[in-house]
């Protein structure tokens, strides 16, 4: 009898074919064991680029958006490195930086000698090339996701940062991802941060690059925190308009940990930030926050998957979108409470202000609760600036653009307040102010 099952494998897009052809041509020069890479490549080959019928990518159809997969970035020349050296970090003066240029860790540009006591950093490519496998790599970023699989197949370099048990690191450590060049190129980077028992770390990330170049970045950050560790993490993306920023954060927390993250997106043409948190120990607390200020046809997607696998953990999420022009914001937040994860406390809020008549916000909260003694709540609001409030401010003498800017600053400010480090918060606040000024 003839097989009547329809063949549902979609036709491969140009970008998919380019990615599939790329791997065999570069795999010999990628550092580390090739078996894992091959496995990841096979997983990608099976899935293809995520598209709108993949639930987790419902509102960000990467398959449709990514027309071409840009070639891998070249190793930066000495001249380019000189340019990068002259360019100040947005977090200049706040702490030592580890610098990744076009996907390559550059020790010569990094403040390796200035790292605080208890912090050890080395390049990922070097670590992958060593005889021993890199401990903890792949432990926190675990998901059935094609973008993560691409990173696992192609990751070229990055940083491994380890904080010794008990080290309370006061000075923030920064990782700068700097892009150069005028032609679209892609990078696949991975940063692994292992924070020992009882240790603490503030990690800042900045993504910097030229305006108007459609660079493609696939970055993975893995954070493995031991019991009673505290990790604060902030991401600032000022990479030039035009870029595609795919970023995956995997977090694995022991018991009694505190984890806080904030990401601000104003620049990329398309950003997708997916965070997977796994509570492996009891009594840990996380606070996942972010803001996006978009205009034109920009698209920013935040997708969270918080897995309460153990009891007595707490999660808080607060995301703010300001959407002008024809921009699109996406917030997907999934909280999973496993059957034995009693006393879970999860609260999620996504708020958007639509400034443009053609701006769109997609909110999709999902609670999957299999335990019966939990407190979980989610909320989403979408609206315009309050006319009455606007009138109140104008009646006090603020011109309309100033009044709007003040209201928007306050709106995003509520999320920015979750950043504990005041100096880092100040940098992000000034980026928000700059965006609002440019709009006036």
């Amino acid at each position: 009898m003839a097989d009547l099952t329809p063949n549902v494998t979609p036709m491969r897009t140009a970008a998919e074919n380019q990615l599939l052809a790329l791997f065999p041509s570069v795999k010999a020069r990628l550092p580390g064991a090739s078996a894992e890479r091959q496995q990841a490549y096979d997983a990608f080959a099976q899935a293809g680029l995520p598209h709108r019928r993949v639930e987790a990518w419902k509102y960000t159809d990467l398959r449709a958006v990514l027309r071409e997969a840009a070639p891998l970035a070249d190793v930066p020349s000495a001249a380019l490195l000189g340019e990068v050296r002259a360019k100040p970090s947005p977090f200049a003066g706040l702490g030592p930086s580890l610098v990744i240029v076009d996907g390559v860790f550059e020790p010569s540009l990094s403040d390796l000698d200035a790292l605080p006591a208890g912090v050890e950093a080395l390049g990922l490519a070097g670590a992958l090339g060593a005889a021993q496998p890199v401990a903890n790599l792949g432990e926190a970023a675990v998901a059935d996701d094609a973008v993560l699989a691409l990173n696992a197949a192609f990751m070229t370099d990055g940083v491994v940062l380890r904080v010794a048990a008990g080290s309370k690191v006061e000075t923030p450590v920064f990782v700068r991802f700097v892009r150069t060049g005028g032609e679209p190129r892609s990078t696949y980077t991975r940063v692994l941060v292992v924070v020992g028992e009882g240790a603490s770390l503030t990690l800042g990330e900045s993504r910097e690059g030229p305006a108007g170049v459609a660079h493609q970045d696939n970055a993975v950050l893995e954070i493995v925190a031991g019991d009673r560790a505290t990790v604060s993490h902030v991401v600032l993306n000022t990479e030039g308009r035009g870029s595609i920023d795919l970023s995956t954060v995997g977090v694995k927390l022991g018991a009694k940990c505190l984890f806080n993250t904030f990401a601000l997106a104003t620049a990329p043409a398309l950003s997708r930030r997916q965070i997977f948190v796994h509570f492996a120990g009891e009594n840990s607390k996380i606070s996942l926050n972010g803001g996006a200020l978009l205009n034109g046809r920009q698209h920013a997607d935040t997708t969270l998957v918080v897995n309460h696998a153990v009891p007595h953990c707490e999660s808080r999420e607060l995301y703010k979108h300001v959407l002008d022009g024809e921009s699109t914001g996406v917030f997907q937040g999934k909280i999973i409470v496993q059957p034995y994860a009693q006393k879970t406390d999860g609260q999620m809020m996504s708020q958007a202000v639509l400034l443009g008549d053609n701006a769109t916000m997609n909110n999709k909260p999902e609670l999957e609760i299999f335990a019966d003694d939990v407190v979980c709540a989610h909320g989403a609001t979408c609206g315009q600036l309050d006319d009455d409030l606007l009138f109140y401010l104008r009646a006090r003498g603020l011109p309309k653009p100033d009044a709007e800017a003040l209201m928007l600053q306050a709106f995003v400010g509520q999320a920015l307040e979750t950043i504990e480090d005041e100096s880092i918060r100040g940098v992000l606040e000034s980026v928000v102010e700059g965006w609002l000024k440019a709009r006036m």
Partner: protein, 249 residues
Amino acid sequence: MLEIRNLHVQIEDKKILNGLNLTVHDGEVAAIMGPNGSGKSTLSYVIAGKDDYEVLDGEILLNGENLLDMEPDARAAAGVFLAFQYPLEIPGVATMTFLKAALNAQRKARGDDELSTPDFMKRVRAGAERLHIPQDMLKRALNVGFSGGEKKRMEILQMALLEPTFCILDETDSGLDIDALKIAADGVNALRDPKRSFLVITHYQRLLNYIVPDTVHVMSSGQVVKSGGKELALELEANGYADYRSQAA
């Protein structure tokens, strides 16, 4: 001097003001009284420039300039101040930040330099003290979690800082106990000046015991139907608005 001539205003096809005329001279405190729905609050919003209202006819001249041609912020810079009946809460904006933004925006519109932070702080502190506003309230988000009385005092503080020439108090007495009322009234009285005039909108005569008006105007059905001295307020308190309800119709 504020002159309102033949003002006709509607909102969503409903006529609220029907040819209202009113003159308030420099230094004058004019009280507007009238029953619910007579158009008192509409009048205050239309003077301040809220755009929900459609002005069908008439003009509002402040020192000869037609306010109706100006945006709300330009009216504020020209000297108009509306103390809201229900001051709005602005989460995320510290009261101090808001006061500074407002003051400097008006100074800029008038061509003055921005105030230095110490000068600004000095003014705010002095004003706050007079109105019994604790310093820590100034650090909190504007009006968020403030009591009714605190909100009204904050409106008077703003008025004191912004130094307007034409102040509208829209039912400043509503929701205030007698002590809060006295504090607010003292704040207003301290601002009385030969160059500054006030339009005090109220339902009740009680406020006018503390802010003694020069003139009292009775509104009904969108018009001023009677004007007189401060004794008119006492007469209204004794007899109610019944005599005036039918006059405008």
